[in-house]
Structure formats: structure tokens, C-alpha cells
Chain length 457, copies 2
């Protein structure tokens, strides 16, 4: 134990290896609900990629489980350490190394937050368009879970916007994958394999991000509909229009009430509309010019009216920003409302009504309260489950995931499997695929030290 | 031998297993230059995914090397079979299984050609936007090499537009990866891992493709520049404009002469401009409305004039179509001109002038003729090498690849490593990465029967 600590502090320096009482509470958990905190044996705060590589080499040699931590905003327990393990926190590796305006890429360390990056990019008229709800999230964490968010319908998710990585392997080598280019056909795509692997294959020490021009004008349309069926029918039409929406979200009536109340947001929707509107569609557009934006917003409005919207509200700057912000913070609203768990199953978007019907049935059968909203454009449904009894809750969660998988979906759209869902992942996935993934894991991590218990049961 | 044939024909039926003289010349090669044809021992023409899985199971059991073939239009020899091997041709698995207009996806078998698919999608106002030069290419082949093409700057390459796969493993299981959704964080992304693996990890039996609205209006601007440096400086400005170009190509003066001559294409460029223009930039835009297209085309024209273009030509429909078509067929022009090899190194796009300077130096040192054009928007440079002496040619190719890798690029942007470049791939790639890829290969294909000699030396 003391010997291990000596080895590890030899790598990062005594000041940057924490043990025992020096390890703060924050390191014991991420934001996953109903997942007890666990303090790790060691927390290392490396400063360089070489230090990360040496930490992994040592961990493999000594058989110490290793968990990576960005800003700890994950929702599936993938950053919750092991009691006997080493937590590698990237807080000291948070530099924006380069903003390359010729190739339109940024090179960053994993600890950089989305918020810091966005501030810097704005100065150059550029944007890294991946936009998960939590802007304190780190790029490293985003890569780990393949973070998505509302703008996925236009710009894709993390894996569509990361061009290359530097990563430390469990065996101590540092490799570089991809680069400042958008295409390659030169061997297996290790960048894509590491993205979404939740710290089980390698530890990312640098990322090359694809940037987009920052379009200056944004407009938001809010349309109440009678029910989710109508919303689901409207979505493909909005997408097929070619207007290229930035955001297409649905919010159910109850969630709309909760998030607008929490944000003290008045949207000017009359009570008689609220009473009969059980599902809301939010469409945000962006454009290079104010004129074109106005035309596009008007066109979306007409389109939605023709598709059965009870009314169409064009939200002005502040109200629109607040609504999107409130929607982003739905997780916190759910948490405050006493949610015991949240899930983010993804399904083919046209199956949204069928899925929600199953959700209602499962909730009712189990006397459980389930509310939600979701990325209607991409079928990613966020549900909050309120059920204190852990046995009943397990049954509900299993039922919800099963319903999603049965409709051709997947357990998680953007939160990840983590520790929380490893057992369910094993139960609901083709064993041939799980076995194959385990063999891939072993190809990267022969000693099995990288985040054991995450992804695999 | 007879026993093997009996086993294989037991799976696909005697009519669909070819041996000996029944095997046509076409099955002996793809379109890779300077790569001798090899007739395989067996050609199987399966009709179902189950048959493919059974073929692989049997091949693993008996140790028969297996090569997959789509339409044979590959340029790196990845579809060239082994003399002692089994070629699995997907010509009988060429159905478009579903065009889903709600979820905007198509489900297709691997033998479907881009051309057939495009014809069908046009009826629905949709498009599968990946656009490599050769439209007879099959989707299966596109998945194998992660095919790119001119529209990558707007829509990405194959890996950005394939949402899921059904694939047969070497061990005989059929797995499904991904699905009709654009995001997931549910285990390793096997879809992405199989894309670009050139038949060395699994055989694709079905693909779920992401579709886009088909925008009706396209406009093309051709701008001659003094040299490539000016072109390279203009490209980031065109991209940063937010106009979202569909195509940004550069064509050098010589290649422009060759392809326009071959296509008998008159672009109306005066001789005095031609004499001083050593590099051309082609920008194609698309739009929902004719008015907006006109505005955008005018804006690009002004932008390019301000960036040093000698003139700006807005090409009318036919001329534009012919130029893009001629550019697509540059490979055939190069072949007819006697090219002994072609390469498609990718580099960060801002490094294009430096790269081309190295190219000129290498060509001169080796008394070799090297001409080219390329995807200026994404740094993917296509070069034709005219050098009959295979030893000198090898030296030139190695030098070109080395120059690309040295600038932070990769050996191939879209053609793949195949058989042709396996040795160079091994020589120019970090051994830690090659070893890792070999271990991944083994995780999929323990007996090493899938396309041995491709990718790995």
C-alpha cells in the first residue's frame, strides 16, 4: 500500500497524489442517481500525457484498477472509482493547446470544459457544436460517453466531431489516432473505438476537435400539440423540409410545467391551450443572416400549423434562451422533484409514440411516476423515474430498457452504461456482441485494470 | 479440395459455388493499378446473411482465406482474392430492403450500387450523400474502405452516414450493430470499427444508411488561381463563410487540361488565363431555393475574387455537371494517360502547398511524372504516378506517403490500405498501434481467415 503510493507519487509528484483523508468527497462519485459514493485508495493529478502513461503502466504491473475523471458530471457512474483503485483526475490537464483557424480544428487537453472552450472559440467565430446539457462537462468525459445533446440532429454527437486523439494505453504506450483531417482509410479507426468506451480501453490525453463556423442568428419556435403522436408525425416533415434545424425537442406537458416553473419562465401560452396540449415541440433554427432566419422561422411555423399544432409561438431571444436552458437543466429539475433515477434510452424516432405508450403502461403497472422529455429529432428519450423502492425501481428500469431495445433502440443515447447499467447491458445485449466487446477490451487492457465493473458486469 | 467445395456448395447451392474454369477473370482483381490478378480457388455467391455466416464458420474451421467482393471497383487490392482462398461475391445480395421516410434511413444489402440506391431515393426526395467518384461501387465496398468523395466536406464520409450494420463474424455468428438512430452510448461502437476494416474483421450483410433531404438547386463556381498556395489560403475562408459548400475541389493546371480534353469540355476560359493559372478551385453549393442559390453563388464569387482568383466562372448546369463528372473520372483519365499507380494521401488541408512542394521535389529527384487533383476542402490529395520502373516507383510512393504522414496526415483518405500498401502501412505506422490493431483483428478473427495480407503485412 505504502509502496504503491510511493510508486504513484514518484510519477506525479507527492503533492499530486492524494490518499486517505486528503481525498475529498467529490472524487467519490459522479452525478449518477442512486449510486453510493466510494472513496478510492489513490487520486492522482497528472500534468502530462507521459505521466498518465506511466500511471497506467504501473497500474497494469501492480494490478490496480484505474478510473478516469473529468469534471464528474457523468450520469451513469463511469467516473465512480473503486475502493481499492486509482482515480486519475484530469483537472490539471485542462489547456486549450491550439485553435487552428486554417484547418478548423481545436487541440485540447481532456480536462477542458465545454464552457471554457466555447468562450475561446467565440473569439474566432467558430464553434464546437456538441451541446450536452451540462456545460461544465469536460471534453475527456464527453469523449468517454460519446456525449450528445440537443444539436445532434444537425451536427451529430461527440464521435462525429472528434477527429483524433492522443491516448495512453494500459500497457504504458502513448498512441496518436486520426489527426487534423476529416477522412481516412488507414487501418482500424481507433479514435471511434475509444470514443464512448467509458474509460475501459484507454485514457485520453489530448483530443483534436472539428470546428464549425459560428452562425450568428438563431430563432426558436414553440408549438403545443394535442399529443405525442402528432409531435412524432410532425418531426420527419420538419427534417425533410431541408431547413436543417439545429434543435428539435419534445417536452411533455408535465415536464413543461416543471421546467418553466423552476425557471420562472412565462411563455405567454394561454391556459386553454395548456389544458389541452400534452406535448410540445421546440424547433430552433440558425442562419447566416437575420432575413433568412426570419423566412425560415415563418416557414417552420406554417409547416407546424399545417401539421396540427394548436398554435405556434416564435420565442424572442431571452424567452428562447431561457426555455432551452431550462430544458437543458431538466435533469436538475428531475433531481429536485425527487427523481430516483433517470434514463436516456434511444429508439428510432418514429417509434416515440409506441415507446411512450409502453412507458405509461410500465409506470402504471408498477405504481411509479415517470416523466420526461427528449430529443425528438433523434429518438433519444430522457425519463425521470420516481420510485423509492429499489426492487420496484429495478423492475421499472429493466422494463423501460427492454421496451427500447425491443423497438430497435439502445439502452443509452448519450449517458453511457457505466457502472449503473452494466448488469442490464449484459442481460439485454446479444451475447455474441458482449463476448466480442470483451475480447476487444482484452486486446487493449490485458490485465483488466481500466475501469473494471464499468460496461461489463 | 473436393471436400471443401462440397462443404461450400452445400451452403450456397451447387449453382452458386464456382471453381476452376467457371471462375471469370473479373473475380481475379479489383481496379488497383500494378497489382496482378489472382484467381481464387472458390467463388461463392450467397443469397442470405445466414449463408454468409455459414461460409465464414466453415472457412474458420477449414482455415480457408476469405475475401469479400462488392462491385470490384476498389483501388487498393482489398478485393483481390488469394489463390488458395474463397471469394464471397455479394452480387446476389443487392436488394434495397427498406426506405424509411419517417426515420430517414435506408436498409440495404451490401451488393446495392450507389447508382441504384440514388435512383430509388430520388423518388422520395432523399439522398444518401456519400459521393465517391465511382457510382457503380457497392455499399458493401464503400463500408469496407470507408469511401469518401467530393461531398465529404459537407456530409462527411461513409462512417458518418452509416448508422448500423448486420455482419457475419468469422466464427459464424451474425451480429447487429447500431440501428435506426444517430446516437448511442451503449458499448463499443462496432459499426465504426467494421467500417474501413477492408474485410479483415467481419463481412457486412446489411447496412442502415442515414438519409438527407435532397436539395433541388446546385450551383458551381470555377476559379483559376496563380498557384496552389493561393488556393490553399482561399479554402478556409470559403468554409468559414458558413455557406456550407457541397464540394471544394482543387485541380492542378495539367490535370484540368487532361480531364477537360478527355470530356471534350469547353469551359470558356481564355487562353491568357489558362497560361498563368496553375491551380483551379471548384466550389459547388446547394440550396433549397433558386433565389438563395443565386445569392450564395454570387457571394462565393466575390469572396474568391477578393482572395486572388484571376477570374470567376459560374458554370451553367451542363458544364458544371460535366466538370464534376470529369473530375470524378480523373482516375480513368490517369489510367488512360498511362499512370502506373495512384495514391490518395490525406493531410491537414492547410498543409497542401507544403505537401505539393515535397511531391514536386520527389518527382524531380526520381525522374517521375506525378500529377493530381484533390479534395481541397478536406486535404485528400489524389496523385497519379507515371513510372514504369517498379523499384523507382516504390521509392516514389514511399516518399509521397512519408511526406504525408510527416505533415500529420495518413496514407489513404478513402481508397484504403488493401494489399497494395500493407507493407508501407507497417513501415510508416507506430508499432504500438499496429500491434493493437492486430490484437483487435484477432479478437474478431481468431483463425486469421478474413482477408489475410490486407492491411497487415
Amino acid at each position: 500500500m505504502a509502496d504503491m503510493a510511493a510508486r504513484l507519487s514518484g510519477i506525479v509528484g507527492a503533492d499530486h497524489l492524494l490518499t486517505g483523508e486528503a481525498i475529498g468527497e467529490d472524487y467519490a462519485h459522479d452525478e449518477a442517481l442512486s449510486n453510493d459514493p466510494v472513496k478510492p485508495a489513490y487520486v492522482a493529478l497528472p500534468e502530462t500525457a507521459d505521466q498518465v502513461a506511466q500511471l497506467l503502466k504501473t497500474a497494469t504491473e501492480l494490478g490496480i484498477p484505474v478510473t478516469a475523471r473529468g469534471s464528474g458530471s457523468g450520469l451513469s457512474g463511469a467516473a465512480r472509482p473503486r475502493e481499492d483503485g486509482l482515480l486519475v483526475s484530469f483537472e490539471r490537464m485542462a489547456a486549450i493547446l491550439e485553435i487552428d483557424t486554417e484547418n478548423h480544428v481545436a487541440v485540447v487537453q481532456p480536462g477542458v470544459s465545454l464552457e471554457d472552450l466555447d468562450g475561446k472559440l467565440a473569439e474566432h467565430g467558430l464553434v464546437y457544436p456538441v451541446y450536452p446539457g451540462e456545460l461544465s462537462a469536460s471534453i475527456g468525459g464527453n469523449v468517454g460517453t460519446n456525449a450528445g445533446g440537443m444539436r445532434a440532429i444537425k451536427y451529430g454527437v461527440t464521435r462525429n466531431n472528434v477527429l483524433g486523439l492522443e491516448a495512453a494505453l494500459a500497457t504504458g504506450e502513448l498512441i496518436r489516432t486520426g489527426g487534423k483531417f476529416v477522412k481516412a482509410s488507414t487501418g482500424y479507426d481507433l479514435t471511434q473505438l475509444i470514443i464512448g468506451s467509458e474509460g475501459t480501453l484507454a485514457l485520453v490525453t489530448e483530443a483534436v476537435l472539428k470546428l464549425q463556423p459560428r452562425l450568428p442568428h438563431q430563432g426558436t419556435v414553440l408549438a403545443p400539440f394535442a399529443d405525442l403522436d402528432e409531435v412524432a408525425r410532425a418531426v420527419p416533415k420538419v427534417v425533410a423540409s431541408g431547413l436543417g434545424p439545429l434543435i428539435v425537442e419534445y417536452i411533455d406537458g408535465l415536464t413543461m410545467g416543471a421546467i418553466t416553473y423552476r425557471a420562472q419562465l412565462q411563455l405567454g401560452i394561454p391556459d386553454e391551450v395548456k389544458e389541452t396540449a400534452h406535448a410540445y415541440l421546440v424547433v430552433q433554427l440558425e442562419s447566416r443572416t437575420a432575413d433568412r432566419l426570419d423566412e425560415d422561422v415563418a416557414e417552420v411555423g406554417e409547416l407546424l400549423s399545417g401539421l396540427g399544432a394548436k398554435d405556434v409561438y416564435v420565442l424572442e431571444g431571452t424567452a428562447a434562451g431561457k426555455l432551452i436552458d431550462a430544458r437543458e437543466k431538466a435533469f436538475w429539475a428531475a433531481k429536485e422533484a425527487g427523481a430516483d433515477d433517470i434514463i436516456d434510452t434511444v429508439i428510432p424516432r418514429a417509434s416515440l409514440p409506441q415507446f411512450m405508450e409502453r412507458v405509461r403502461a410500465i409506470a402504471q403497472e408498477n405504481n411509479t411516476f415517470v416523466i420526461g422529455c427528449g430529443h425528438a429529432g433523434d429518438g433519444n428519450v430522457h425519463l425521470a423515474v420516481l420510485q423509492k423502492d429499489s426492487e420496484v425501481r429495478e423492475r421499472v428500469l429493466h422494463g423501460l430498457f427492454e421496451a427500447g431495445v425491443h423497438l430497435g433502440g439502445a439502452i443509452s443515447g448519450e449517458h453511457g452504461i457505466g457502472r449503473k447499467h452494466a448488469e442490464r447491458f449484459a442481460a439485454l445485449t446479444d451475447p455474441a456482441k458482449v463476448d466480442l466487446m470483451r475480447r476487444i477490451k482484452t486486446a487493449f487492457d490485458p490485465a483488466g485494470v481500466l475501469n473494471p465493473g464499468v460496461l461489463f458486469d
